[in-house]
């Protein structure tokens, strides 16, 4: 179950970014914030390159999928900004976007032939429901004149 520890670490780190991103976009535009986000990724990768010597000679499929991961993730972030800028209510857009793991589950089962137990299937559904509910910000109380 070593995977779970790393998955929870990712969850915590990405969870913190929810706050730091908000602190950033409270002060600068989402575009500038995204630029510095990407630059930080480059800086981190430069450190990784120095600290852990890269080993080349990987299968083409692996390289293509890794690079595609960056493209898909980056364009996904860009598309989510566009959704918010196109008039979508943040609570609805973010809740809707929270459905993305559902697609990963479907693709992984269909293309990678992954099998889920009944409990895991229920867990995936509950996780998606939880992510949607967490993204629904409470409505501020109406102030009657």
């Amino acid at each position: 179950m070593a995977w779970l520890g790393f998955a929870i670490l990712a969850l915590v780190l990405w969870g913190i970014t929810g706050v730091t991103q908000k602190l950033s976009t409270n002060r600068i535009s989402s575009l500038r914030s995204f630029l510095w986000f990407c630059l930080a990724m480059v800086a981190l990768s430069a450190i990784v390159l120095v600290v852990t010597p890269p080993h080349w000679g990987m299968a083409t499929k692996v390289v293509v999928c890794s690079v595609a991961g960056g493209i898909l993730n980056g364009l996904g972030a860009w598309a989510s900004f566009r959704a918010l800028e196109s008039g979508g209510k943040a609570s609805i857009v973010i809740s809707l976007i929270s459905l993305f793991p559902l697609l990963t589950v479907v693709l992984a089962v269909a293309l990678l032939h992954e099998r889920l137990t009944g409990m895991q299937m229920a867990g995936a559904v509950v996780a998606i429901a939880a992510a949607i509910m967490l993204s629904l910000e409470p409505t501020p109380p109406k102030l009657d004149a």
């Binding site: 002060r27 510095w36 930080a40 990784v48 960056g70 493209i71 993730n73 989510s80 509950v126 967490l134």
Partner: protein, 151 residues
Amino acid sequence: MGEASTSRRLPLWLGWSLVTILLWGTWGLVSKIASDGVDAYMNQLLFTVGIAPLLIFVSWKVSKGIPGENRKGRGRGVFWAFLTGILGGLGNMAYFQAMVKGGKASVVTPVTALFPMVTVLLALLFLKERLGRVQWIGLGLAFVAIYLLNA
């Protein structure tokens, strides 16, 4: 014209949201395929290569100027954005490592997608934001989901 016809068929925001689901959902799949042949560090390096064209495009957009952007507080805003990138990248590596360690894409991705539970808790503690009833239920369900996915 494009805007009007789009709004009759599919609102623009809905279209972009669906594109996001498609892109991020597929990212989970390709990350698993990549993790079967490369370690988390190398995966992050190649991930950054993938992000580079977007970085160039965004740099170009920013260099043209951002109308209405306030200069006040820019330094702090940049600091938080940079920290977001560092933490996001470290999160990526943990996500890749979870898959390298044998986690299935169909299980790891729903677990990590629960990251708003941490955001919500931190916002509650440090930003003094209030949680709605639905968010509290979501928080409880997030723990149930982790238990079930780990079963």
